[in-house]
Symmetry: C2
Subunit: 348 residues, 2 copies
């Protein structure tokens, strides 16, 4: 390689520099990095010394160009919802970054237009900027999933293909029904019998799934659910008024909610009526948000195992991108229950 000896210290060393220093060819250095077992021990040693002496690291752009892969994973993020307690994304993003790193991938964030969620995906895909996507906003009835599928773009969804059970793409999800069943059973075990549900509107697949967990738990003990359920928007105000109506008309002793946001609404209503959350009426939320953790009384909440979700997502990605491809269908993980004071004492 004809490189000026006294080159700028800002120019990183290349594979050719290492080869020259170690007295071998470029390919041998490449093998030392990517397939060390192809080299003889002493040669490998010599090359590795040269690498560390020069502080060599492969140039990403060159590698990407040749191998047609960037080792980047695209993740679309949407704005934080102010005024709610929803903060799943934050925890998930961190777990995903951490897990991806271990698998040799980095996470590339992008934000799509609000109107056209596909725009961001399309650009990144066509410019071969990312190897795959992680799709999180499947609650809409994921147009992304089918679109990406049609483009043969590798992706893993965090969230089931609710509206298309026949979908063949890889997905990972948390069993919301199991979580709500866990929460309801927890309250039943404490002696509650009239447990109300506050969830989302009927067009939300996730909401209906979570609701079914409550419903199942109640029926398993032969308890009625009529008049005990309410479906509203995911805001504190909606939760608050729904709780008021339910308390007046159905006299529940406990609430299970589809979100911490709704549960906060319930806590508001209880306080307004002079009822003590926990002692008088038990409340359980969903997502184990920071709000649930620092509010008084502490809000019991169903916690999604987002670290595990990230591990499964990355494992699915490795299957999609690896050689040979390993098919990876759906994975359903079970959440846990974080018990705090809003669960109240044993009532028996």
């Amino acid at each position: 390689m004809n490189r000026i000896p006294g080159r700028m210290p800002t120019t990183p060393p290349t594979l050719a520099d290492v080869a020259e220093r170690a007295g071998v060819s470029r390919q041998t250095v490449s093998n030392a990095v990517n397939n060390p077992d192809l080299l003889r021990a002493d040669t490998l040693m010599r090359v590795q010394e040269a690498i560390s002496e020069l502080g060599y690291l492969p140039n990403r752009a060159a590698r990407n160009l040749r191998t047609r892969s960037s080792h980047l994973i695209g993740l679309r993020i949407q704005p934080v919802q102010e005024g709610t307690a929803n903060a799943t994304m934050d925890r998930f993003v961190h777990s995903l970054v951490e897990t991806s790193r271990e698998a040799g991938y980095h996470v590339l964030l992008f934000s799509g237009d609000v109107g056209d969620p596909l725009a961001g995906y399309d650009d990144l895909l066509r410019s071969t900027a990312v190897d795959a996507f992680v799709v999180t906003d499947t609650y809409l009835g994921n147009p992304q999933a089918t679109w990406l599928d049609s483009r043969r773009a590798p992706f893993v969804a965090f969230g089931r293909p609710w509206d298309n059970p026949g979908a063949t793409h890889a997905w990972v999800d948390v069993d919301g029904a199991a979580g709500c069943q866990l929460a309801t059973d927890h309250l039943l075990d404490k002696g509650h019998e009239r447990i109300a549900w506050i969830g989302w509107r009927k067009d939300s697949f996730i909401g209906e799934d979570r609701r079914s967990g409550w419903h199942r738990a109640m029926h398993a003990r032969g308890l009625p659910t009529t008049g005990l359920a309410s479906r509203v928007e995911d805001t504190v105000a909606s939760g608050r008024s729904a709780a008021g109506v339910l308390l007046d008309e159905a006299r529940p002793t406990a609430f299970v909610c589809a979100s911490d946001t709704l549960a906060m609404g319930v806590l508001h209503t209880l306080h307004e009526r002079g009822l003590r959350a926990g002692d008088d009426v038990a409340v359980v939320g969903f997502d184990d948000s920071q709000v649930a953790q620092v509010v008084r009384p502490g809000l019991s909440s169903v916690r999604q195992p987002l670290e595990e979700v990230a591990v499964e997502v990355v494992s699915a990605l490795e299957g999609l991108l690896g050689h040979p491809r390993v098919a990876h269908r759906g994975v359903l993980l079970t959440p846990t229950l974080e018990v705090r004071d809003s669960s109240g004492p044993d009532r028996r």
Copy 2:
């Protein structure tokens, strides 16, 4: 370009394909994309048609290799702090992604080792994976900043170089002192005179800065501050006990806190003592977290203009990476106050 006519539809078109179709050379296509004003109108039109017909988008890896820039910005994220109300990062990340997109950049997330925060930076830098960094965790007394500076790595800090006022790198920060002064003045205007401060330990530059805003506001009205300040760890429990001690020993009628987490601790203490937050004792927090927004009573809080911070950060980055380089020193933005019920009524 000798490309097989009936090639796989999965292979994206290249610049050479476009050139062939438009009947021009590769360079002309490149100019059409990057310097359209160099072409004659009719040629440009022809090329653009070919581009849209083929759905051409430049290959990122190839461009990166040639231009030695990836148009990626590295951002290190740390785990969410569970059990606190701190969620600044989430909002900032989204704003940064959005603003970067408008400037033609994407955000690459990475997580460093806990022990060695520089490891992640080093790898990305040496492998030329990112063009620049956004450094956020400067509260430690930013070893990153000086390290990156010594490596001549382009970066912008969100946070002042507290321990090194002579630093020459670009930074953007929010004036915490002004924020706390705003909060304190707000309470003073309501008629409070004994306003307590709960902040962080003395070794926190940010904490001392915020404290100075409270101190300044009090002294501006000739009010004493002796015995009214407390410095503790940033946890709900610490805030709670600090509030207890202050109520016993200094009888304040209002609290200004360095964080929403501490403010939540104050709310806890007030409730335990049968005092009504807002009506009996006013409380103001810092960060306008989701917790402040959904808790009861609503927690007044200082809100950092993170959207503006992102804009300034990206603008600084463009200065660093652009031609010619535009020096961009420090920018200090002023936060706003979100007034909620915990501010209480007018007391005059």
